[in-house]
Symmetry: C2
Subunit: 425 residues, 2 copies
């Protein structure tokens, strides 16, 4: 991917809050769907602390893509692929950085705190992968200490279908799910609220142009099928999962809620931050040919973090406690492009607006574990918080906050925004 003038570090915006903004300097320009004042949902772009209302500046965009950007979801715009996405980015970069456009554009800005954020797409299908090799190893160790990774792991980008209807945007309360669980010592299962509610720190991939049923997306075209990235929390009920998951995989343990951050951070915004993929240890097999090739730097150079606040911490005015932090590319045994090529290699049709989760992103370091299952070693080693409270799993009143930042020498850093969820009883 070419890095163009929209990433010029000298470029700044007349929107003052964009300068040095943690997530949304003028070098980012992520897309979103928002509403305000009871008006209809429409497309926007984040800049500093504001959203720019795209249908409201249709004339300044040359009346291009007005229909696609005026819809309550972004599927139609993402379906157009990289050409229109790149053109929109370039134009927005000009409009927001050149003072000459300020009078025309400024009235279409809205404070983010005044807007309601919505899912950016109508999600046809949501698929969750399992490409975090350290996570797979950590979880596998709890079940099979001598043989944590199954024989297929280093050949197959493992994935499964999740629930599209229960994907929600950041801020959706997490209702503790009920279900069957069978304590190890019990004869029979019991039904009731989960006692082992967990989060999973993941990235989400938004699909742009898809493929027709029966036709695969070759890996050298997989980059073109990706429209953007977000944070994703794959909330998980570990006790339900342990009892239900054989032989067909997780179901009620996961499908009660999946949370995503509201902003679609485009491949163009990510261009300077793409990096080498995961380094396969010596002796690992080469990927099969259909998973070999693609772009030069398919690794996601995003530092992803999870943090927790408890009710007590918030009452005492304490900052969120960081649970983990690590670089996605160091966790992902398979790249986003390999995920797309694998998902479609049997002719399965991906569609614009589909959502794909990477799987939990744990690094090899003890401070890079992307779930409480790993941090507390399945409950055997509870975490102690600054308040003295302990956690093996999430308790009512806990709030989880996922963030991600991309940094590269010579470029202005960008972020993905936040993905939050507060556990309610």
């Amino acid at each position: 991917m070419r890095i163009d003038e929209t990433h010029d570090p000298a470029r700044s915006s007349w929107v003052e809050s964009a300068q040095g903004h943690r997530d949304f300097p003028v070098q980012n320009l992520p897309l979103c769907i928002f509403s305000s004042d009871g008006r209809e949902r429409r497309a926007g772009v984040a800049i500093g602390d504001f959203l720019l209302d795209l249908p409201a500046i249709a004339d300044a965009l040359g009346d291009a893509w007005v229909e696609e950007l005026s819809q309550p979801v972004m599927n139609a715009f993402l379906a157009l692929g990289s050409g229109p996405r790149v053109a929109l980015r370039k134009r927005l970069s000009e409009l927001l950085s050149d003072e000459a456009h300020r009078d025309r554009i400024e009235p279409a800005l809205l404070g983010q705190s005044e807007a309601t954020m919505h899912l950016p797409c109508l999600i046809g299908d949501y698929t969750d992968f399992y490409v975090g090799i350290h996570h797979a190893t950590n979880v596998g160790k709890q079940f099979r200490p001598d043989n944590p990774l199954l024989p297929n792991y280093k050949y197959v980008p493992i994935g499964y279908h999740g629930r599209a209807s229960s994907v929600r945007v950041s801020g959706q309360p997490v209702v503790r799910p009920s279900g069957q669980r069978k304590p190890p010592e019990a004869e029979v299962p019991v039904f009731g609220p989960s006692r082992r509610l967990d989060y999973e720190l993941e990235l989400g991939i938004w699909v742009g142009p898809g493929n027709a049923l029966g036709e695969a997306i070759p890996i050298d075209q997989a980059e073109g099928a990706i429209a953007g990235f977000c944070l994703l929390n794959d909330w998980s009920a570990r006790d339900l999962q342990a009892w239900e998951y054989q032989p067909l995989g997780p179901f009620l343990a996961k499908n009660f809620l999946t949370s995503v951050s509201p902003f679609v951070v485009t491949p163009e915004a990510m261009a300077p931050f793409m990096t080498a993929p995961f380094t396969r240890p010596d002796g690992d097999p080469e990927p099969l040919p259909y998973l070999t090739g693609g772009s030069d730097k398919p690794g996601l150079g995003l530092t992803v973090s999870a943090a927790l606040t408890t009710r007590k911490m918030r009452d005492e005015g304490m900052a969120p406690h960081r649970l983990s932090q690590g670089v996605a590319a160091d966790a992902m045994y398979w790249t986003a492009e390999q995920i797309v090529a694998h998902h479609s290699c049997n002719g399965c049709n991906l569609q614009p607006g589909d959502l794909i989760g990477t799987g939990t992103l744990s690094t090899a370091s003890p401070d890079g574990l992307g779930s409480l299952l790993e941090i507390s070693q399945g409950g055997k080693a509870p975490l102690t918080l600054p308040t003295g409270e302990t956690r093996s799993f999430l308790e009512d009143g806990d709030e989880l906050i996922l963030t991600a930042r991309a940094e590269a020498k010579g470029y202005v850093s960008i972020g993905l925004g936040e993905c939050r969820g507060l556990v309610v009883g």
Copy 2:
């Protein structure tokens, strides 16, 4: 469910082909979405060899539900629940049986052979269950001869999420999927077309009114969430499945295509044919309380059949060869109502137009096995066809035909139509 005058066996239609029709006498009246002559998709009802165009008779329906029935999918109408569905059925039964309405209604009939059938709903989520206990046992035996059923089976209605984007209506060609497979004797997997392509004989459940995220559907309200039934073929690539499915379940082995019959046969049409549920063997545990209760006769009294033709059989003008036949209620360890209650018990939101598969419906009898995996014992006992051809799995040019019939003493039998698929190379 009350059985009303629409099931009066003396009631006949002025549509002559409806009398004694295998599937669509006036006692059935299944809903569908069709198009013809390049016009837009719209709702219809099958009667004999015809479809009745519902928007075209809006005045005779009292202009009720015109908006819902004029859409290209039936989600909005199914969302209305049983009240409007029952009222529409009663009115259609009158219009199609009373000769006085013939002049008004007949011009809105169209030969089924002239229509293109479409999916009845925009499927938000497709879930596949595994309630066929004999299937689960037969498949389990191939992996674990001494312990075929996993410990959770008799407590948990096992299910997993499937792919909504690749659900297609009957007649869609089956493109043989490629993927990774690892022959038992091989060191490493290879990539290529599946060599163990199979079908699975299932029923599909169309969801009517759903539930809000975070709120369960209690089992005594589960019947009301069901809008109808269809045939479903869960095409499966067994070699891909064996290699990929651990630990998160089937994925590429299934998501290349799922076929359904085009007609939504309503609970009202099925009322006389509902029967006792599966008889649990002595010693089996009672269902947990959240899966206990519901309607008196939740069992599906549908005789489901699978048949095969090969290219040679068709060239020689031979009839399809029946592969299996059995009654759904004799195969289903869990009822449709238990499926709905379980699926939503954690707060997972079901939505109008969602599709739920039962899982493969094999009976205890050797002539009631719902997949080639079972019939050929994993390829060890190939089936011999009347032409002398043998089959362990499906070959290019094979066509699978699923059908189902409901019969009950004193009532006119109905059917679900057909679900066909021709395997192409």
